[in-house]
């Protein structure tokens, strides 16, 4: 994997190579070069299978980490391409022309994280949620419990902490 990384880094600006296992590695690439790197990997290096495209919200760093995981059936290795994009203006190039399922992933990310993929067919359509009015729910700053408490009703319940309860019962006057 390291060898491939060295070859690729001649052409692309890669960084932070991390070999997780002998068959799995991650590396970082600039957002502007990501799609051409993916095309390159697919066409030249045999990484023909887009395993998944997902996003990790690094709220503290104000960044989204897009992870394109590619698999090579010949060498049986996985390469994760990490792309960091700005969280406040999340826009990324689309890969729907490379893999048919790409547009579905992008549609989901648009809905769940609010990332825009210009040109991806149907990316604006809601896929999973219907009539959703809140912020994109998978973002870290969306609090699902608060939303749930506010929107739906639960049975009332009282939670007694053993430590507190024993204090009240046994030695509260101290």
């Amino acid at each position: 994997m390291k060898k491939l990384y060295d070859i690729l880094s001649l052409q692309f600006e890669l960084a932070d190579f991390e070999s997780k296992r002998s068959d799995l590695a991650f590396c970082k690439v600039k957002a502007s070069q990501a799609i051409s790197l993916l095309t390159h990997l697919r066409d030249i290096h045999g990484y023909t299978h887009l395993v998944m495209l997902t996003c990790v919200d690094w709220l503290e760093d104000k960044q989204f980490q897009l992870t394109y995981l590619l698999h090579n059936y010949a060498t049986k290795t996985d390469l994760g391409i990490l792309v960091f994009i700005d969280r406040d203006h999340p826009v990324m190039d689309s890969l729907h022309h490379l893999w048919k399922q790409g547009r579905v992933y992008q549609r989901e990310l648009h809905e769940m994280f609010g990332i825009d993929f210009p040109g991806s067919p149907g990316v604006e359509e809601p896929m999973i949620l219907e009539g959703w009015q809140g912020p994109p729910p998978m973002r870290r700053d969306f609090d699902t419990k608060a939303y749930s408490d506010e929107t739906y009703s639960h049975r009332p319940r009282v939670q007694n902490e053993p430590e507190q309860h024993m204090k009240e019962q046994l030695y509260s006057e101290d």
Binding site: G131, T144, K145, S148, Y152
Partner: protein, 224 residues
């Protein structure tokens, strides 16, 4: 302990207006003007009772031909298949799955209900012919279950449609679901499975609850 153990105090449920005093027609405001013509604007009315003897006979008949709407709304649906096939064979009890709400009399809520499904549930339920009954299986339908903090599932299904019988379990075994259906039969025979009438009586309350969580209400108010 961390925040998942916080005390949850629900908002008080608003009082529902008496349907008799407030008997106006439905507006169907969620629909376009053209579509409003397609649906009726009458409210549901509680079924009128005939003589007790007749009623008893009808209840007996109803309890022995429960047709289930084959709408798997959650994980619970997976136990419906063993139930309707050879091993548990609910045909013995005069029950069978029906593909369309118009032919079904029992709605089985199979656990958690997401908002998107709730819309379909409400519509399917309203389309069912009376007398109709609801059996809610799985703990998720009772108090949210393991999705108690999820943003997309309703916690208590009885706020949105009336539930006649609950079966707890995650998953309840087919036998437990069967016990639920037996209980439903008992209730029907005793004339106590009045969920449909309750829905008509508390219609405004149910609608209000439904509309509170279904943010894009683009359905008729009463889809009959």
């Amino acid at each position: 302990m961390n925040d998942i153990n916080d005390t949850i105090i629900p908002e008080p449920v608003p009082e529902y207006p008496d349907w008799r005093k407030d008997a106006k027609t439905l507006t169907n405001a969620g629909l376009s003007e053209e579509e409003q013509d397609w649906f009726c604007d009458a409210r549901p009315q509680p079924a009128k009772k005939s003589w007790q003897v007749m009623e008893n006979f009808l209840n007996w008949a109803r309890s022995n031909s429960l047709w289930i709407l084959a709408f798997g709304t959650g994980c619970g649906a997976i136990e419906l298949r063993p139930l309707i096939t050879a091993r548990y064979d609910i045909s013995r009890l005069g029950m069978q799955p029906r593909p369309t709400p118009r032919q079904a009399s029992v709605f089985m809520i199979g656990g958690y209900v997401s908002i998107k499904t709730l819309k379909r549930i409400v519509r399917s339920y309203e389309q069912m012919q009376g007398p109709k009954f609801v059996v809610a299986v799985c703990s998720c339908a009772i108090n949210g279950g393991m999705y108690w903090d999820s943003y997309n599932t309703v916690k208590r299904i009885d706020e949105y449609i009336p539930v006649d019988v609950y079966v707890t379990g995650c998953m309840p075994r087919p036998e437990a679901v069967l016990a639920g259906f037996s209980k439903l039969k008992e209730l029907i025979k005793g004339g106590k499975a009045e969920g449909q009438n309750l829905y008509a009586e508390k219609f405004d309350w149910y609608k209000e609850n439904q509309k509170r969580v279904i943010k894009d209400w683009n359905m008729p108010d009463y889809n009959w």
